[in-house]
Assembly symmetry: C2
Homo-oligomer: 411 residues x 2
């Protein structure tokens, strides 16, 4: 922050907005807190907290309510919480097997949630966008009349330019350079921005804020289905690269003698640890999808040798690739999501052994590998977090805007 | 920044320090500037700049001098510049073939520089530390009496824990868990901190500030000699991981059918693109060192088939590994340093073709691969930049401290 000494008024306004942001962020991430807890967490004085909470209450972003303290003597401190029901975002997801919609209230409370199967294979932008718009409409119809989201987040199984929501490459959908952001903005016809990002990047964000990566600043989230993508958190911030394409760890070359990859290269990591590699090795049809994966896992649990061998192969390649990424990123935690979280119980020991053998001792000692705790919904929840971000960064801009948004939408 | 409304005094002090930092950083990175240029670059008002420059002049960090404007009418604006000669850092480097020392003045001006060959092979911590202390003493003896550096930076070809300067692993030196930082702190006996970091991380920092990466926020610097290391810049900030071990791209597994690596794994990238891979393929002894590399390059220039084939092999593996890193990091620029900058002219086309074939189209379109412009000294210059960092971050802490440092050292 660089400011002249004369700009006291402007500076004071900047500080006020930063303080409002700190309070709203704490309430969003940690849930209802007493004023004393807010003092402790933000480092603000008690009187500053009082004034700022007052502003947030007047602006309808926050409510204060009496706390219930059973059996504790003395007057209980009132709890401050975000106005969950009146400050909501819309989250959408396009994954390989399903489309999903959710409406979340401030604080990350899921108010509406629906996931519908979609047949695998290529779909046009128009088909997908129409289905998502229908899902969104149906979800909003189940909510109170007049509720308008403050933002929309979309997770997609593809490589996305974050600045314009253009999907550069989504092999599962058969998309190359498809304007998803613009199309959904038109289709949803909401007076708020529509952000689009890669499912793994958003899965990482969700796990960081609400899942297995909480409390870690350097995180690698690995999302595996047919394709394998990564979400990388460096020092608490997402590594997105210059256009949001970063994190495509599934296309790290790992086996030059291996199979052709859908991306045009050969021997990418996803050709060894993705769903097709598992099914091929277990003797199931490559396009068997989720049902075939379930069958492999059931076989393995029953001790069928082909299934166990297939999982072992995936586990070894998984560990080898993770070793490389641990060497490159020196992360605190690796989170396995999607298919990889389902196979984790079968391959955990192999992955650990592979890290011992292939990663450098120093970063290896510091990392732990754990399955996702948010499961299949991690990308969808991350899309919601992305949509909340402008509110968290500058809540002052949203004070008392609810009526205005409703008017804009009905105009 | 989170502050209460009451803490106006403290806030104003924070702003003053941030503004001093902005000015000193501009002067350090861009050289002497007029007050008008500082106004434009920092966004501060003219009167704020005047007051802050006054403080910096009084504190002996900055001097103002008349500008020479030949043939331009009107009174020339005085130039503000850092007091290069009185604010210096000591930089040291341990690389595979040499030890180096430099003394740099604020603004990155090299005042002293010496590089001496060291025989390859293992050395004890005590030997290396004694040699570096001797080099530092000799360099300081050539400088004015009473000059005390404000910081010391050390670049080392190894994996370093930045918090304590412990070298976790340095195969060129035969080091495992060696307390380089503590030993140099004792040996140099200077009243200032000694920072230790990996040579590639520091090479990246130097190229970012003063070399081929200037103006790019997302950068991959690849430093290759016998070992291959990386320095990764994400959104303008170094990716160091949780303990500073990040960037070990030389130990990305790329060829499971390949050679054993010094790290204990097999088929790491450095086994295909490091010096030994080049020499082995060209038919030279593996331990031929720099002289053998020179011979291979001379052979190649003369059209000797074995040398050309060896370079082609290295070029193809280089491109394949870079493709994976481009997919993971989505960088603006890749800088090749050390051996890799020397072979770049021979392999540039192959590397580009390999990126076309193996990297995803979207990030590939946005990246360019260029040789280092700082050459062999990049890590040494980066060590100096690391040592300047506390001054750049908070120059207020250094105002008028020169006398105190001299007193501390002679005490």
């Amino acid at each position: 922050m660089v400011m002249g000494r004369e700009e006291l008024g402007q500076r004071s306004e900047t500080v006020r907005r930063a303080n409002l942001s700190a309070i709203v962020r704490e309430l969003h991430l940690h849930g209802p807190l007493s004023r004393s807890e807010l003092v402790a967490r933000t480092g603000l004085t008690r009187s500053a907290i009082r004034a700022l909470i007052g502003e947030l209450v007047t602006g309808e972003l926050v409510v204060e309510e009496p706390a219930l303290r059973l059996g504790t003597p003395g007057r209980p401190s009132p709890l401050v919480r975000l106005a969950t029901e009146s400050t909501v975002v819309l989250a959408l997801e396009i994954s390989i097997d399903s489309l999903a919609v959710a409406i979340l209230g401030a604080g990350g409370v899921v108010l509406e949630h629906r996931r519908v199967d979609r047949p695998r294979g290529h779909s046009t932008l128009e088909e997908i966008a129409a289905d998502l718009v229908d899902l969104a409409r149906a979800a909003r119809a189940r909510r109170p009349l007049g509720e308008t989201p403050i933002g929309v987040g979309v997770a997609v199984a593809g490589i996305v330019n974050r600045s314009d929501g253009l999907v550069s490459f989504a092999p599962n959908l058969g998309w190359v350079d498809v304007p998803l952001g613009a199309t959904l903005t038109a289709g949803l016809a909401l007076p708020v921005p529509v952000g689009v990002a890669n499912e793994s990047d958003l899965g990482a964000l969700a796990e960081l804020r609400r899942g297995a990566a909480r409390g870690a600043d350097d995180v690698l989230y690995v999302h595996g289905e047919v394709g394998v993508g990564g979400g990388i958190i460096v020092d608490g911030r997402p590594l997105s690269g210059i256009a949001g394409y970063g994190g495509e760890i599934g296309h790290m070359p790992i086996n030059p003698q291996g199979r052709p990859c859908r991306c045009g290269s050969t021997g990418c990591w996803e050709t060894e640890v993705g769903e097709r590699a598992l099914l091929a090795r277990a003797g199931y049809p490559l396009d068997g999808g989720r049902a075939a994966v379930d069958a492999v896992l059931a076989d393995a649990a029953a001790g069928v040798p082909e299934a166990l061998a297939a999982l072992q192969s995936v586990g070894r390649w998984l560990g080898l690739g993770l070793a490389g990424l641990v060497n490159i990123l020196n992360p605190r935690r690796v989170i396995l999501g999607g298919l990889l979280s389902r196979i984790h119980p079968f391959v955990a020991d192999l992955v650990e052994a592979s890290l011992d053998r292939h990663a450098l001792a120093a970063p290896r000692r510091l990392v732990s590998v754990v399955p996702s705790t948010l499961g299949v919904d991690a990308p969808l929840l991350g899309a919601a977090e992305m949509a909340f971000e402008p509110l968290l960064a500058d809540p002052a801009a949203w004070l008392g805007t609810r009526g205005a948004l409703v008017q804009l939408e009905s105009a």
